[in-house]
């Protein structure tokens, strides 16, 4: 990858085929149960399903009534029930209850469970234990990948984060592997793969061998559309995910929560009494121009845009009838559409402004920046304490605590204890378990943890070191982990040193996504590795990141001519990826003439990540 100045960014491959494949398979599966049927859909699957097939398509294939698979269904006269669910134990029990209730009342129906994206053995075990295994038929809907935008593909598996990094549950790795196989077969063969991952231990061996074998078998003579792959685990870089987002798309996500590529703008944005659901992607011309911008430039841009729009409207004043006719038939609709979007985004901006000033947003950003830079730690600690004492927001307080811990390699024991006590007093004692979880994943730890390891933990970590030579990976290894953020930051120059004001309008580097204060670690690693075509020269950083880097290249792909595909990079984030990271890499892509495609288990942000750590009351 020669970075020969700016070049045109190549067009991404067409991911529409992923949707078509998913739709066709779903229809096939529905047709496998001929006749009218009621469809029970897992709530989490509703939005993704909506992007694949709408209600009328379902109705065409004889779906009669639709239910959410969480409440007891009303008395239904249908002879056939079809469940479209995630492979979860909880859902299996829900289905078993329905089947058993029918049995009790002597009703016979046909039951079909469609697992998406795949079936797990544990689910069958539960069905068996509940005594309904023989009553249901099972199928898999291999809906692994949902293209959210022209460059974002999501697996829509937010639970990956908690299951893998907290519970050490490796189930979803198989799903990720299958998803990659699918991409490889459609857009590969992938020539080069780099990674920084714990999952790697699992991934690289079986998975890459299979990918390579696949490539050898059917990749002959096929022109790859994606040649470079970068795999990244979320736990490599928690810092970036914990920072407040300030690019527009990230802010919208933090404020309104973007769900499956669309957002519900409430009455305060729409300035009417109803909410509007808006699809946020490259198709939205207004959004596409501001999504990656720093929030401070957005307002200016929007007002400029509205002036332009007004000017275009104003043109009609001097028109004669014919011109007017033309204007109405050709331009007006587009203008109106643009007008509508513009007012929505202006509304959203106002709403964000209102919320953010109310919470002393500026002060919080300032505290965050000093944490990132490592200045005035004492002052930041008191800021966090005050934040907790004043019950500003449980998640925000937690976020700041974690940021403090991870940038400082753990909290000093006194603060560790006092902040936690304060937190429990403010937000309730049940967070005791939350703290335990955070400690386990290494988000909130105590400094010099080595000496205070309890018996169990030391045993586990001993096990880890014993096996270090082998390929066994262990989620608990995070116990022994240190973030080493400060050292890494220095090594990679994550805190830009600029004289005078950082130019947010024409940013010099990726740090603009955090107001020029910090270059996202994950993105910096990707930049460095792509530039060096490997990890050479990054040994020190790798050591600080606790190793586990890898780089695989197709031996034959070494000397391939630099086709378009060479400039397309698939960035895979296992455990979630934030809009700030996406914006930063889009920026990098423009600078280097690369196109980044994002594949993530789910879009995440600090709130989603921390909420996943909270122990739900049973």
């Amino acid at each position: 990858m020669a970075f020969a100045g700016r070049r045109d960014v190549p067009e991404p491959p067409d991911f529409g085929i992923l949707k078509r494949l998913a739709r066709d398979q779903l229809i096939y599966l529905l047709e496998q149960l001929p006749g009218k049927k009621d469809l029970f859909i897992e709530p989490d699957l509703m939005s993704p399903l909506d992007r694949i097939a709408n209600v009328s398509i379902l109705k065409q294939h004889e779906v009669d009534k639709l239910y959410k698979a969480e409440t007891r269904p009303p008395l239904s006269a249908s002879d056939q029930f079809c469940f479209l669910v995630r492979p979860r134990v909880r859902t299996m029990r829900y289905i078993a209850d329905i089947v058993n209730a029918d049995k009790m009342s002597g009703r016979t129906r046909k039951y079909k469970i469609i697992f998406s994206p795949q079936k797990f053995y544990a689910c069958e075990m539960v069905l068996e234990e509940e005594g309904v295994f023989g009553d249901v038929t099972c199928d898999e809907w291999s809906f692994y990948l949902l293209p959210l935008d022209e460059d974002i593909i999501s697996m829509e598996l937010p639970e990956f984060f908690r299951d893998y990094f907290l519970e050490g549950d490796h189930r979803w790795i198989t799903s990720v592997a299958r998803a990659l196989q699918l991409l490889n077969s459609l857009y590969g063969p992938f020539g080069r793969a780099y990674g920084m991952a714990v999952c790697q231990g699992m991934m690289s061996h079986e998975l890459w061998r299979e990918l390579e074998e696949d490539g050898e078998n059917d990749g002959q003579g096929r022109k790859p559309e994606i040649s470079n792959v970068f795999l990244m685990d979320r736990d490599t870089d928690y810092v970036t995910a914990l920072c407040s987002q300030v690019v527009y798309e990230g802010l919208v996500d933090d404020t309104f929560r973007i769900k499956c590529g669309s957002v519900d703008f409430g009455p305060d944005v729409t300035s009417s009494d109803k909410s509007i659901k808006v699809l946020l992607n490259a198709q939205d011309k207004v959004f596409n121009q501001i999504r990656n911008e720093h929030f401070s430039s957005v307002f200016g841009f929007l007002s400029q845009k509205s002036r332009n729009l007004q000017a275009q409207y104003d043109r009609r004043r001097g028109m004669d009838i014919k011109q007017m006719k033309n204007f109405v038939s050709q331009e007006l609709k587009g203008l109106k559409q643009e007008h509508r979007l513009l007012s929505l985004h202006i509304g959203a901006c106002e709403s964000i402004m209102k919320k953010k000033t109310k919470q002393d947003f500026q002060e919080m950003i300032k505290a965050e920046h000093s944490l990132l830079e490592g200045f005035d730690i004492r002052e930041s600690t008191s800021f966090i304490e005050e934040h907790i004492d004043r019950q500003v927001s449980p998640i925000e307080s937690l976020r700041l605590m974690c940021l403090l811990s991870i940038t400082e390699n753990g909290l000093v024991p006194k603060d560790y204890r006092s902040l936690k006590t304060q937190y429990l007093q403010s937000y309730g004692p049940e967070h005791l378990l939350t703290f335990h979880n955070l400690k386990r994943v290494g988000l909130l730890t105590e400094q010099s943890a080595g000496e205070t390891l309890t018996a169990v933990e030391s045993r586990v970590s001993k096990l880890v070191t014993d096996r270090a030579a082998g390929k066994i990976t262990d989620a608990f290894s995070s116990l022994a982990r240190k973030s080493n953020f400060r050292a890494i930051s220095k090594k990679l120059g994550l805190i830009p040193r600029v004289d005078g004001e950082y130019n947010l309008k024409v940013p010099p580097d990726m740090a603009y996504v955090f107001s020029g204060a910090y270059i996202p670690l994950s993105c910096k690693i990707i930049e460095q590795v792509l530039e060096r075509r490997g990890w050479l020269g990054l040994e020190e950083v790798v050591r600080l990141l606790n190793g586990n880097e890898f780089s695989v290249s197709d031996s034959t792909g070494e000397e391939t001519p630099p086709g378009e595909s060479q400039r397309i990079v698939l960035a895979i984030f296992l455990g979630g990826c934030t809009f700030s990271e996406i914006a930063a890499l889009r920026f990098l892509g423009k600078e280097r003439g690369l196109k980044f495609i994002f594949l993530t288990t789910a879009i995440t942000n600090s709130a989603r990540m921390l909420e996943a750590m909270i122990e739900a009351k049973a």
């Binding site: 134990v89 079986e206 019950q391 936690k420 006590t421 007093q425 403010s426 169990v456």
Partner: protein
């Protein structure tokens, strides 16, 4: 001296021998899976493997104990290998599949006083029936009845039946009578195919069918002591002289003729071979072979021959013929010259798919290797099973089943020297495994797990494990390891495979196999499996989770477990109880922080209950902050003060909390009083701020002078 039982390979190498100590033998036979069946006079059938090792025995019924077995036959159907016996009472009993023994006694033939002259087992429409001849009468015995039958077109003067033969595929039947007449027809007795009258009328020693699949040429081979005759749809026959006593073994595509010193194969010449090697043949294949030979001599005739084929547009056909004919040749030199011709012809073709050529080369290498006398598996190409990449095994029954000699070794391997090694007892497992690996390497299509399964069947568990090490896919190793009861190894292999479903399978297996204690211990050493099982328990059987932690003395997790259970307790007493348990565990885990926090929570819960009772207001489940805040909001300043002291609430927090609660209440008087109670730990700016927030500028002004100048913005 005792008689000896000896087993030879097809090339005459002695594989094993055994002094015979059991009873009088009536018949020997091979099963489809290469086990030797020794049928004794008393109806007992002993089963040995290829190496004369006793496997098991079974009986053909009690009736024969007195009557004895007169004759026995081993036959093969789609169900497997079967055994039929004729008893001294002239009754026939049979079992269709010896693996799943179900004895059937066939109906009696009315008025039968002496043994039948000949009989045979037929399989029609998946039903096994018996055809039996007594003098000039032919009887058909099925499950329920015995019926007299006459084959169509049978000459009335044919005489008494002496011999009968059923073809390998059970489709054809031949009958030999004492007038030398041979009737050949369908086994259904619905159609006559042809007839022949032999000049020899004496009873033949043996009569078998000789035919090739899909060929219309059918013939029977009849053997007398020193004479062999091939008769078919022709008025003439072919005669051979036998030098020694010989045995005929009918096979899929021909007849093996075995004697003390020789092993011959009689078959109809396959069509491609005929086409190419017939004298003065002008078939495209023959021309191509000729062209190639001329080409090697650097003669221009090569071009002439080639042109002749190309003009007729028969070059692809010629190549195909050569490839196919190569398969039917047994001499490697002939095979080579045919393949060379094919390859030569291919050069002049644009698009001839290479698979058939490549496949044939591979197949021939395997065939030539196994035909080597040291291995002694002289399969023909027709018998050679289609390559099965999964290594699941070849359809042995069709091709090889029932062949009377121990040459069949191990059909599912392209390197057939393996099983003898598997059997070698003197070499260490390590050596054998290495030897096998050296031989096979990483050939695609080789399944080490299959080989290992074989080794395990031979009782060599350790060798099987060693062999499994060569299996690249961990997933493939697991089922066999489980079968071998190496569950722990299976578990680590399953984990390596990264397939969590496989891990669950093994975990569940372990759970049923081991005691609870050992099961948990096993899991403790496998964090990945442990996490998976914990996840399952969390959702499905929470109590097991507790046992898991208990087993490991994991007090921290036990504490967490109790905290978690306290959530689902409805009554306060229950919750306090659960928390008390948690407290104990946290102490044991030396987690002072958690212990203190839990202690505080118990204290808070009890207090909240009192408050709720005293003030008749909901207090339960509020955080400490909210509890105090609510108390102030409702004007219970004394109680709030009490909590502040009891729980050692930091001053800063208390001040923040109190002023914001007072402001919300609008109790400005109390706020001012509070502000003067002592020096504010949070300064006075918050007083101003909170007043402004509640739109009370008047109050705000009161505190403004107390704010230090640098904070006044």
């Amino acid at each position: 001296t005792r008689p000896l039982l000896e087993i030879y390979s097809a090339s005459g190498l002695l594989l094993a021998s055994l002094p015979w100590k059991s009873g009088q033998l009536v018949q020997l036979g091979w099963t489809a899976s290469e086990d030797l069946l020794c049928i004794q006079e008393d109806g007992t059938v002993l089963v040995y493997n290829l190496f004369c090792e006793f496997k098991r025995h079974f009986s053909m019924g009690n009736e024969v104990l007195q009557n004895h077995v007169l004759e026995a036959k081993v036959f093969h159907t789609e169900y497997g290998t079967g055994v039929a016996i004729l008893t001294g009472a002239h009754r026939v009993s049979l079992a269709t599949n010896i693996e799943d023994l179900k004895l059937r006694r066939m109906p009696e033939v009315p008025g039968l006083q002496k043994p039948p002259s000949c009989w045979a087992v037929l399989s029609q429409d998946r039903v096994t029936i018996v055809l039996l001849a007594v003098g000039q009468d032919l009887y058909l015995l099925d499950n329920t009845s015995c019926s007299l039958v006459t084959p169509p077109g049978m000459s009335p003067s044919a005489g008494a039946y002496l011999q009968m033969a059923v073809s390998f595929n059970h489709r054809c039947l031949a009958l030999f009578t004492d007038t030398g007449y041979i009737w050949m027809g369908l086994a259904t007795l619905k159609e006559k195919l042809c007839e022949f009258t032999s000049s020899i009328r004496s009873p033949p020693r043996q009569m078998v069918w000789c035919m090739r699949p899909r060929s219309r040429q059918r013939a029977v081979v009849v053997a007398w002591d020193r004479q062999l005759m091939v008769a078919g749809n022709s008025s003439e026959c072919i005669q051979f002289v036998l030098d020694e006593d010989s045995l005929l073994v009918p096979e899929l595509d021909g007849v093996r003729i075995l004697s003390r010193s020789s092993h011959e194969f009689l078959q109809e010449i396959p069509e491609p071979s005929q086409e190419i090697f017939r004298i003065a043949s002008m078939a495209p294949g023959a021309l191509l072979l000729e062209a190639q030979k001329e080409y090697e001599k650097e003669s221009q005739k090569a071009d002439e021959y080639l042109r002749e084929i190309k003009e007729q547009k028969l070059l692809p056909e010629a190549v195909r013929q050569c490839i196919e004919a190569a398969g039917y040749e047994h001499e490697p030199d002939t095979q080579k010259s045919l393949l060379r011709a094919a390859s030569f012809g291919k050069c002049f073709l644009d698009k001839f798919p290479p698979e058939s050529f490549v496949r044939m080369c591979q197949d021939l290498r395997v065939l030539n290797a196994i035909r080597d006398y040291q291995i002694g598996v002289p399969l023909t190409f027709t018998q050679y099973p289609p390559w099965d990449p999964g290594g699941v095994g070849w359809p042995q029954q069709q091709t090889w089943g029932g062949s009377a000699w121990g040459w069949g070794l191990c059909w599912d391997l392209p390197a057939p020297s393996l099983p003898p090694q598997v059997q070698q007892k003197d070499k260490s497992d390590e050596e054998v495994a290495q030897a096998i690996n050296q031989k096979l390497g990483d050939t695609p299509g080789i399944s080490y797990s299959e080989i290992a399964a074989r080794a395990y069947d031979c009782g060599r568990t350790e060798l099987a494990i060693k062999l499994l090490e060569y299996e690249p896919r961990s997933g493939e190793q697991v089922p066999l390891l489980l079968k071998m009861k190496r569950s722990k190894l299976a578990l680590s292999k399953a984990i390596e495979s990264g397939d969590t479903d496989l891990v669950y399978t093994v975990v569940l297996h372990l759970k049923n196999e081991l005691t609870r204690g050992t099961f948990f211990m096993t899991l403790q050493n496998q964090p990945v499996a442990l996490s998976l099982y914990r996840q399952f328990c969390k959702h499905q059987e929470r109590e097991t989770l507790k046992d898991l932690y208990n087993q490991d003395d994991n007090h921290q997790e036990l504490g967490n477990f109790h905290v978690h259970s306290s959530y689902s307790e409805k009554r306060i007493e229950g919750r306090v109880g659960a928390l008390q348990n948690a407290l104990d565990e946290f102490y044991k885990a030396k987690n002072e922080f958690a212990a203190k926090a839990t202690e505080d929570q118990i204290k808070l819960l009890r207090l909240q209950r009192h408050l709720q009772e005293d003030l008749n207001r909901p207090y339960l489940d509020l955080s400490l902050h909210d509890t105090v805040s609510n108390l102030i909001l409702e004007g219970h300043h004394k109680r709030a003060e009490q909590l502040y002291r009891d729980f050692k609430i930091p001053d800063k927090r208390y001040w923040w909390l109190k002023i914001s609660a007072l402001a919300t209440r609008g109790d400005w008087e109390e706020m001012e009083k509070f502000s003067r109670s002592k020096k504010s730990p949070i300064g006075y700016w918050p007083f101003v701020e909170i007043s402004v927030k509640h739109h009370n500028r008047y109050e705000a002004k009161k505190y403004a002078p107390r704010v230090p100048p640098e904070q006044r913005v």
